[in-house]
Symmetry: C2
Subunit: 216 residues, 2 copies
């Protein structure tokens, strides 16, 4: 990393060369590079390392493009795509909260709200408000667009688990009953995708990628 003083001097120079508005936008562009260093629990499919939030967000946006036909008619797919690009940015400050960690989830909301204030607050006001609204909509998962986006966010790590022989499930002692519970929301997005997930999960138990867990 270059020294913070050099960095500040470079931003001052940008401030003198161009508008305050572009200057603020570029500070944000540089800041969000840190999303590439926020690691998730899930490995990439070749198992060489853990996945980071930036490449995860790219993968989700690609899935939204590719699987748009599974979106219900009320979904704005281009908006879902922007939502997925933005949805994890708060983790720059708040860190990744593991889907199966119920303790970490307790103060997650407060940490993420503070992170959203700081990060989206770096942008010109109306642009920060727009991005914050996109993130709020995703988090509320009430709109059809947000539900479709969440379907992608659940389906992608599930596929990573299937195609790594359940690496993350085994490492963290997750069972199929827990996965089934977390994947239930996929049915809100698409029943065809949900059925497929249930079928693959049964196969994963048969192959001992993860234990079945307590019967429902």
């Amino acid at each position: 990393m270059i020294p913070q003083t050099t960095r500040d001097e470079l931003f001052d120079l940008i401030g003198s060369l161009t508008s305050d508005r572009l200057s603020a936008q570029l500070r944000f562009v540089v800041e969000i590079d840190r999303l590439k260093t926020i690691l998730r629990r899930t490995p990439i499919i070749d198992l060489s390392r853990r996945e980071n939030d930036a490449e995860h967000s790219w993968h989700l946006a690609m899935m939204a493009m590719l699987l748009r036909e599974f979106a219900s008619p009320g979904v704005d797919v281009d908006k879902a795509l922007r939502m997925l690009l933005v949805h994890d940015i708060v983790e720059i400050d708040a860190g990744d909260t593991f889907l199966y960690d119920e303790t970490g989830q307790e103060d997650q909301d407060e940490r993420e709200q503070r992170a959203a204030d700081r990060l989206f607050g770096m942008l010109p006001a109306e642009q920060g408000t727009d991005l914050r609204a996109l993130w709020d909509e995703f988090e509320a998962h009430e709109s059809e667009t947000a539900r479709f986006a969440r379907t992608m966010d659940r389906l992608q790590p599930f596929l990573h688990n299937i195609f790594t022989g359940g690496a993350m499930w085994r490492e963290h002692g997750v069972n199929a009953a827990q996965v089934r519970k977390r994947m239930a929301v996929i049915a809100d997005g698409s029943s065809q995708l949900h059925q497929l997930v249930l079928g693959l999960l049964d196969e994963a138990v048969r192959r001992e990628f993860l234990p079945a867990g307590p019967a429902a």
Copy 2:
């Protein structure tokens, strides 16, 4: 990596559980995970490692969202965003070609065309054709949308270089005259962004992030 036989069995199972169409789409979703392993010359800004193509594509799509006001009126920003998500996928087979490597660029086009045939050919026909068209449009950089997308693709590594004290420029012996030449196309996208790049490049030379190179 799980054994190829297990992987094939899992895809066969998906084929039996769902439509051929969704099955092909999911094969592609799994295949493109490999973009996370294609490394670029540019480091991430904290200098901890090189950047990969997937997180790079995410960063460009974010920049297109953030800097949309610099797009000329003919630009379809949502399309530029999809274009940027897709633009490097061929590098899964063809590898990253360094912007300043003139030898590598000779057979780049042929390698990338073959890669596009194989990768986009994995998808249901009309969807593969759509993604290929998006990539072809980006590569041709004739449409205003493609030019705006290219502006993001040049500006992002430039900012990485500036905010890493010219790490990649120095490692690869790149001089400011070469950078100026490569950045000229930014003017097609936005003269305000181009002027800023030129100002920052002068400062980078003053700070010895890179040598000036032969006078123009």
